[in-house]
């Protein structure tokens, strides 16, 4: 017999899948241009051609000849007949069934259902991308620091000196050229990766050239200190102050800041798990076989700690989505024209319009609930695998 937990786990997976489908299909679900028209023997795809952009009103297309998106409004489309928050039961052009506002309208007369679909895109974008970046930063730092600890990464003084000078010198020029003089994040990032790779191979090449005393590089201690410093800034306060530093609001700023602040969870768990896995026999065997460290980390440690990291990924995706909706609820960080769940909710609270509060909130709630359930489902299956 299946337990309630298994059913809720499966259900949550389906709910999450539906969210992703809605986000990917968003332009087809809500938009003010028909997907496909067949008129006077001519076929056209107004949604994909920019030339139709000047006639976005539904009345310009005969509804029999066109295939419309499910909700014939775009999230920014203002319906002048239904302004100042019309409730779902009282709204819409009753004669034309398609033009009803199924979930009501907001203060400006924008369709709530279309806004909800657009909000899904924003939330999932932030959730997925910020988890992606935090995962990469946090997991790599955590694994390396746990693998080498404080004394396994020994380095001779000349190599350390050369590396330090080259690294900070290179970083200085990178910052000067591409952050101060000609700001370009992409060039800076590429330059940084190239710098790190060059230094990595250089230090491999010159590693055995010097016969001086070796010193341990305290990688683990540095990471722990870094995590401690990050933890001493309470979440939403530092987030708010960082977001307000950007003069031009955008989605990517928020993703950048959430990644900058959120990697510590991944680092902590990746570190703890690696410490446990490192002592297993198969790692020792791999070392005896003479595999290099990178191969051991990628082929032997990473697959073993991945199940735990998936749990953290689910939780931190829920956290990122919650943070984004909190920010947009407060009206900070996202561009004005972007419609999100949080913004709709803030408007609903001010106008005491239940449909603006209930629907977006339900969307956030369900998303977070299903992510949490999936995470605990993962957790449970990890424990079962161990037994």
């Amino acid at each position: 017999m299946k337990s309630v937990k298994d059913i809720s786990y499966k259900l949550s997976k389906w709910i999450l899948a539906i969210y992703f489908i809605v986000a990917i299909m968003a332009p087809f679900l809500a938009g003010d241009k028909p997907i496909y028209c067949y008129e006077n023997g001519k076929m056209s795809f107004p949604m994909f051609s920019s030339s139709f952009s000047d006639i976005p009103i539904i009345k310009n297309y005969p509804s029999e000849a066109c295939l419309w998106p499910l909700i014939p409004f775009s999230p920014t489309n203002i319906d002048h007949n239904n302004q100042s928050a019309i409730s779902p039961f009282a709204s819409g052009d009753k004669k034309q069934f398609q033009l009803r506002h199924w979930l009501g309208t907001d203060k400006l007369g924008r369709d709530v259902a279309a806004g909800m679909i657009h909000g899904t895109v924003v939330s999932l974008k932030i959730g997925v991308f910020s988890v992606f970046f935090t995962f990469i930063i946090g997991v790599s730092l955590g694994i390396f620091s746990a693998y080498y600890r404080d004394d396994d990464l020994s380095i001779t003084l000349p190599v350390l000196l050369i590396n330090t000078i080259l690294f900070f010198g290179g970083l200085y020029y990178l910052i000067m050229e591409w952050i101060i003089f000609k700001p370009s994040f992409l060039l800076f990032f590429t330059g940084f990766v190239i710098l790190v790779l060059v230094l990595f191979f250089l230090s491999k090449m010159i590693k055995n050239k010097f016969n001086s005393k070796k010193y341990a590089f305290p990688l683990d201690l540095l990471l722990i200190k870094l995590i401690e410093i990050r933890k001493s800034f309470p979440g939403i306060f530092i987030l708010l102050s960082l977001v307000s530093l950007f003069t031009i609001p955008s989605l990517w700023n928020i993703i950048f800041i959430i990644s900058l602040l959120g990697w510590t969870e991944f680092a902590r768990f990746a570190r703890a798990e690696t410490l446990a896995v490192k002592e297993e026999n198969f790692i020792l065997n791999a070392k005896v076989l003479g595999f290099n460290d990178l191969r051991i980390i990628i082929h032997h440690i990473l697959p073993n700690i991945l199940p735990t990291l998936m749990v953290i990924a689910c939780f931190s995706m829920a956290g990122a989505i919650l943070l984004e909706s909190t920010l947009s609820f407060l009206g900070i960080g996202l561009p004005v024209e972007e419609v999100t769940w949080g913004k709709m909710m803030a408007e609903g609270r001010n106008m005491k319009a239940w449909w603006l509060v209930v629907f977006p909130g339900l969307a956030i709630f369900l998303l977070i609930l299903s992510l949490n359930t999936i995470a605990s489902g993962f957790q449970k299956s990890n424990v079962q695998k161990l037994l």
Partner: protein
Amino acid sequence: MVGYVLKRILLVIPTMFIVMIIAFFLSKIVPGDAAESMLVLQGINLDGPNAQKEYQRNYSFLGLDKPTFYFSLTPDFYPANVNHILSQSKRQQTKSFLLQKFNYKDIKDYFELRDSLFDQQPIIQNDSAKILYSNRTELLFDTNPDKIKKILQTLTSDPLTDHVDLLIKLEKSVDKMIMNKSNFYYPKINWHGFDNQFHQWATNILTGNFGVSLKDGRMVGDKISGALKWTFLLIFLNIFFTTLIAVPAGLYAGYSEGSWFDKISSFFWILLYAIPVFWLASLLIVYCTSDQYGRWMDLFPVPGIWYIPEGQSFVQSLAHFSGQLVLPVICLIANDIAQLSRITRNNVIELKSKLYITYARSKGLDQWQILKNHILPNALLPLITVIGGRIPAGISGSLIIEIIFNIPGMGRLIYESIFSADWNVVFSILLVISIFTILFMLLTDIVYIAVHPKIKSAMA
């Protein structure tokens, strides 16, 4: 153990120093100019005749002319300290020239010549000379060398222009600037000593002086201490009620694992844990503060404006607004109850399978004795860390509640200050809260060690 605690306390100091550095540099990269905000605060017209003088006075009064940090790492063509230029427009123009990699020495020469040109009043004979004169003033704002040269050439080619020699000199200095452009540079370390902005700021903060709010001129320290009371009150209420409800519920659910109470409460906590706090707050405000949806739904007072008159004591205002606190506290504790009771339940379940519980059972102790003497102490110990960790998280959590319910705490203060670009207040709050977080983490650690028998005996 004393040694460990001392070491732990000493280790806090470098962390705090780094936190201060981070908060300081964040406050330095904000958009806007503090000296200009001070002018607005003093009610001085920004385009008025003595605005320049007042600006420079404020600028040096705020210590903005000092170097930023103990040392700086600049390209070799930079001056040691760009901040020392008092005039706002000249400073901005110098920065803009420097970003085009022009040598600071050439820039200085250019400004000197430009000043001597503008010291000479031109003889305005007719209208075309007037146009020329207005053309000349464009030089004061432009930092694009090509454009400057173009303006200079049109001026010199005109027969009406006087001081042609100065104009030619100016053009030559621009040429020199372009010629000496430093495409290759090396980093230069400038040592500034203790007379810098960070040192001044840090010593001020350590003596409790956070500066002046740029919005209303009040002391930032006063504003923060006023707000801190409310935030601490909220955190106290949060932890009190959370512990009061969650711990017994978790204990009972764990003790009677698999019972109806356990099943229903677990399900309920899972739902409650996923509810976004601001959604819960919005729902309660929309449905439960008015009789729009039925008379019995009108349960709570509408979140109003918290006007606290000058001189009213904290207790007085607390008594006045106590009714307003019910709804915020309900929203605050919702997520925490779910979390804490789940942790308590899992602790108890884990403990129940321990050998010493089986032993106690076989000894013939009754259920209540086992619960009281063996399960309870061991289940509650880990909660110290959890509850201690809730305090910094509670500061974060109370932010949105304060904003929604208009409670004049830290969250509301930082939110309002961000919108009015009152960066002094924003980063002071950030610093104060970070320091509190560090202290609470330290305290939690020490308390945990002090009460945990295992660690205590290991350290002895």
